[in-house]
Symmetry: C2
Subunit: 166 residues, 2 copies
């Protein structure tokens, strides 16, 4: 259950790369995708699709990234695709997809579920798309590995506010 | 004060296009940028910069978008830039910027502040960058208009979960 306020949730979320051998319940994943569904997008075009993988299907993606261990120990993966059929501006649509991903990460963190936003696997996006036969209208944008965190890593550094405000 | 849980915050956030003639306190804006600061990014590169405009500076941007009325009645604008000096992959960096924007929108909504993510103004990004003399390393990614909502608009439609899950 959520006991923190939003800013605490945002600040305490971390990339989790080691997970316990425990299952994350299906309804939590569904709520995470419900969170993604309510992200904003330009012209409300909602240029996203999601695919949840577990078990052998999940493991079969480990070969496409040097972060294979994260995929191997995760309970599930959420694949995030940019839906080119709904797309109207690639740049704005990528930002909308980023907003949807952040909704997923924040919601799962608020429920005690760890996530890791994997980007390096995009180097093999074409191979992943071919393996999953997702069709030409979907462009792999991210893979989110998730599970029960093995431990809470210490905070990563961030630039100071004065560095990022003009 | 925040009384809703995260999923309610995510689902109830709307684009707000009409604002009351009231000020949003500076510390709330600072916390919104603090929320942005903790967004995830590839290799933790944090490829973002922000600029807050109000008063005449804010009004001077209205000429660059057909949504000039949103800018005219907003209390403040948060300009969001992709920082090309910190960038390593334009696609991933745009998604990271989208995650940072979503943190801002969610945090402000949780505090009763309305926001509108303006994308159409990107058609005049070069003109805005020139006017603000932001330099060649910054690429305008979004303008967020914000203020006290005049009213709460009714929900926009979203695709159903079955439409967006493969």
């Amino acid at each position: 259950m959520q006991t923190e306020n939003l800013l605490e949730i945002i600040k305490k979320r971390r990339s989790i790369r080691e997970f316990k051998k425990k299952k994350v319940a299906g309804p939590i994943i569904e709520k995470a995708l419900e969170a993604a569904r309510w992200a904003p997008s330009g012209l409300n075009n909602q240029p996203w699709k999601f695919k949840v993988l577990e078990g052998e299907e999940r493991e079969s993606l480990a070969q496409y990234t040097k972060y294979n261990k994260v995929i191997e120990c995760a309970d599930k993966l959420i694949l995030v695709f940019l839906d080119k059929e709904s797309s109207y501006n690639h740049k704005k649509d990528l930002m909308a997809v980023g907003a949807a991903i952040q909704n997923i990460l924040l919601y799962l963190h608020s429920q005690g579920i760890g996530t890791c936003w994997l980007g390096e696997i995009l180097n093999k996006a074409k191979e992943v798309e071919a393996k999953l036969k997702t069709g030409p209208q979907l462009e792999l944008a991210a893979v989110i590995a998730l599970g029960i965190p093995q431990k809470q890593p210490s905070p990563k550094k961030r630039k100071s506010l004065t560095e990022i405000i003009l």
